[in-house]
Each structure stands twice: as structure tokens, then as C-alpha cells.
Symmetry: C2
Subunit: 292 residues, 2 copies
Amino acid sequence: MEIKIAEYSGYCFGVKRALKLTMEAIEKNGNKNKKIFTIGSIIHNPGVKEELSKKGLISVNKVEEIGNKSIFIIRSHGMAPYLINKIRKEKEAEIVDTTCPFVKKVQSKAGLLSKNGYFVVIIGNKDHPEVLGIKGCILNKKYAVIESEEDAEKLRCRKKIGVVIQTTQTKEKLFVIVNKLLDKTGELLINNTICDTTGKMQLSTRKLAGEVDIMIIVGGRQSANTRHLKEISEKINESTYHIENYREVKPEWFINKKRAGISGGASTPIKDIIDVKKAIEELQYIQKNKNL
Amino acid sequence: MEIKIAEYSGYCFGVKRALKLTMEAIEKNGNKNKKIFTIGSIIHNPGVKEELSKKGLISVNKVEEIGNKSIFIIRSHGMAPYLINKIRKEKEAEIVDTTCPFVKKVQSKAGLLSKNGYFVVIIGNKDHPEVLGIKGCILNKKYAVIESEEDAEKLRCRKKIGVVIQTTQTKEKLFVIVNKLLDKTGELLINNTICDTTGKMQLSTRKLAGEVDIMIIVGGRQSANTRHLKEISEKINESTYHIENYREVKPEWFINKKRAGISGGASTPIKDIIDVKKAIEELQYIQKNKNL
């Protein structure tokens, strides 16, 4: 079996940077013995989460659980400014900000739109931490989070609508929602804040899905951008499977298939992708020996 | 045969206003005996053009042909400010401005976009007087006139693109071109300047085209909005005919048809629409008597 890996897949710039800053904070803290907290996962990948937890990173669910005078790491998805201030003041925590610079740009664009009198539409997943952080940057709470065409349809008309989009969304979603929004306002300002890498990953996954008989998408089930790669792939190739790691690979998927493709999201370590490739090769080896 | 007229058809607000201002200028001039000029037609309707010409309105093709110390009428489509100034200064003409207020809004939005650093995209017909006027309001000549998806495809990428659209274009065209422009910039500011009446006319023509066996669109062949009504109608009803007046109605169009619809553009006098209705009724009367 021929196995191909998508040209762009695995850790993006923002994820690499967040992990680097987190590792530096952990190492720098070595002697000081402060506790290091984060809310949720630094990146949406269970394997990486476990590894960082072993190194001492404590992942909690809310501000109240953060220890006093600790180190607090803002993850790559960013965070609402009022929450960061709360942690700084109430917990007297030292803040390490690993927010992806592309996410920072979305936050500042959203803030600017609301400052300039636009009703802000955030295209994205309502509960995704990146979206929660963006919401926190809008001054007057004049915003709506739009997940689908149907959401956009329900929006009432406004004089000026400004749009930002979660960095890991698809261009296709931007298109269909913009078409609906054109009916809701006379002035529509669109900031296409989908990040470059996301676009390239989507493009190379789409390309590969058309060239192979089976596609394996590797990455956390919580990872929005990995889920989008799965959606894109299965539109072109119905034999698409989303797995978190090589242990989930199933032999029956590969029956009568000649070419397999692998892609991974921005939060997927390249090692995980290589492990899946090895697992498929191993399956073939076992199969071959069985047939002898 | 049942004959229906589209709910919204015939003279729009801007056209009525332009004709009223022109008639007032002609009447007011009665004794003074100044010559009255316009470039092109006040509105795109040959019948109206002829009528105004009989009342003394002289339609010329360029500034050089305008008489000195005359009265100059800016037609409803508007005009580039530098040309108006030229006529005022070089010809010492008294200016009567009948520019449609909706067109004035497009001109000011286009000017504001260029002032704010946007590359301006004007969606419209390259040679239409409204578009020529809008172009004249853009400060630094940083603009492109886009007629089609293909035009938009060819545009090179820009940091900020601002969009205005000729008042009489269709929303469908705005949608497809906006989708292409999203690939050309990170910041896209869309002013949907299609005028309300245009939208209503298009909607009621589309509705009627679906209810009848034959559609007659009445209006000048130079009239952009009338041509768009024809395009909209023929997508739904292939028996669509665009005529300038009742004399062009052909008996053979109505063979085996039971229901006819009539619609007219913003520059079509309601009288022309009624005349077409009468012509169809007359055809039927002749046909009936033939059969007896």
C-alpha cells in the first residue's frame, strides 16, 4: 500500500510557539517551585496534555481553582482580557501569555469593529476557547456568535455589521455566512481572519483526499481545526476516519484499498502522524505474512 | 388571456424626481430664452427622450457641445465632479442637478472608501453613466470596475478592498463577486448600494415570471435595470421578451399561452406598460373575431 502524508499537516507556528513558551516557563521555574496552572489544555491534544501534566503543568477548569502566587499560562487560543486581569489581581499570578499572534489579531480586529460602531459577528464554534476570548474583547457586548447559515438567517438587521472568523474555520463557511449577512445590513466589513496555515492544511488535505482510497485524520477530538480537516476530507472521500492516535487504526478499513492518505491538525505532533503511518505499514506486514 | 402587471414596475422615485426637476427647469426658463442641455438622455427611455427634446431639451454627447451661458441638467445617473466643475467654469452654465439621491450615496461611499485607504471595487457596467460618475468621485484612481466573476478573478490581491455596487445591479451578482473578492484581501468592506426600489422590482418580476406563461419586459434597451429584469425573468421563464414599446408586440409569441405578465424598469413610464397591456388585449380580440 502506498501511504502519503499531506504536504501541510501537524503543529503550526502558533502551537509550536505556545509549547516552547510553556516549556521555557516550566524550566525557568525549576528552582523557584511555584505551581504552574492553565485553564483547559494548552493545545487540544490529549497526548501532549498528559506529557505536560507529567512535567508539572496543572490544568484546571475555572479561575477559582488557580493557586495564589502561581504562574498562569494563557494557552494558544487566547483568553478574555477581564479574566486575565482577574487572575493577575485576585490570584497575584505571574502571567505567561502564549496566545497565538494570529488569534491576537482577531481579538484586536473584533475590538476595533465594536469601537467603530459595528455590530460584531464572530463566525466560529460557540463554546470554543478562542471564541470565548474574542467575545471578551468586544466593548459593548454588541455581538453574535454564528456557527451556521441558519444562525445567520435568524440575525436581525443592523446598520453596520463587522465580521471576524475563528482562525481555524473554513473559507466555505465564511462564504455561505457572508452571503446571508449581505441581506442583514447595508454595510458589511469582513476581516478574513482564517490563518494562513489553516488554509494551507485544508487545501493539502482536500488535494490528498482526492488522490487516495482512504484518509486518516489524526488529532484531538476537541481540536476544531482537526475536525474541519475531517469534514473537508469526507466530502471528497467517504472512507475518512478521524483518530486521536495510532492505537485506533482498524485493519478492516484497509481491505481492498491501495492508497492511504494521512493528515493531522495544527495541534497534532508530527510524531503522532508518523506513528499512524508505521501502524498501517505494520498491518500490511502482518497481512502479507498471514497470506504466505 | 389573463394579463398581470408586476407589483413594482415603472418609474422609480429617482426618475420621477429627475423628470420633475427637468420640467421645472424648462418651464422656469420659458421667458429667459436660455438653451437647456444635457449629456446623453435624462433617463434611458427613447419615448421620454423624444418628448423632452420637443420641449427644447438639447441632448449632446460631450462637454464641448454645450452652449455658453446655458442651463445644464445633470441627469439622474449623476456625473463626475470634475466634469461638472468644467461645465460650470468653461461654459459658465447654470447647473440643475437631478442626480438620484441613491446614486449620490454611492458616490459619497466610494469617495469615503478611497479616503480611508481602500482599493475601491465598483460592481457595475463599465460604460454606464452611473459608473462613470462614481469613478469620478474616487480620489486617487485606485479602483476597478468589475462586471463579472471573471473580472473579479483577475483582480490582484490588495490589503483592503472596499465595494460599492451600481444601484440597479442584482443581489445575485453582488454575492458571486463578493465570494471571489474574499480571496483577494484580508479586509473587505461592502456597501450594498443596490437601491430598495430596484430590489423590489426584481423580486416582483421574479415572482410574476413564475406565475405566467409569457413575460414582457418593457423599457429602453439602454436601461441597465430593465435589462436586469429581463435576465431575472428569463432564468425562470424562457418565454421572456424585452421590448421598448407596444409596437414591438408580436402575435406569434402568444400562441398557446394562457397567462401573460408585464414588468417595466425604473425608467419606463407606466403609460408604456398600460399600452402593452392594451396591445395584447387587442391581439386577442382580433384573434377571437378571426375564429368566429
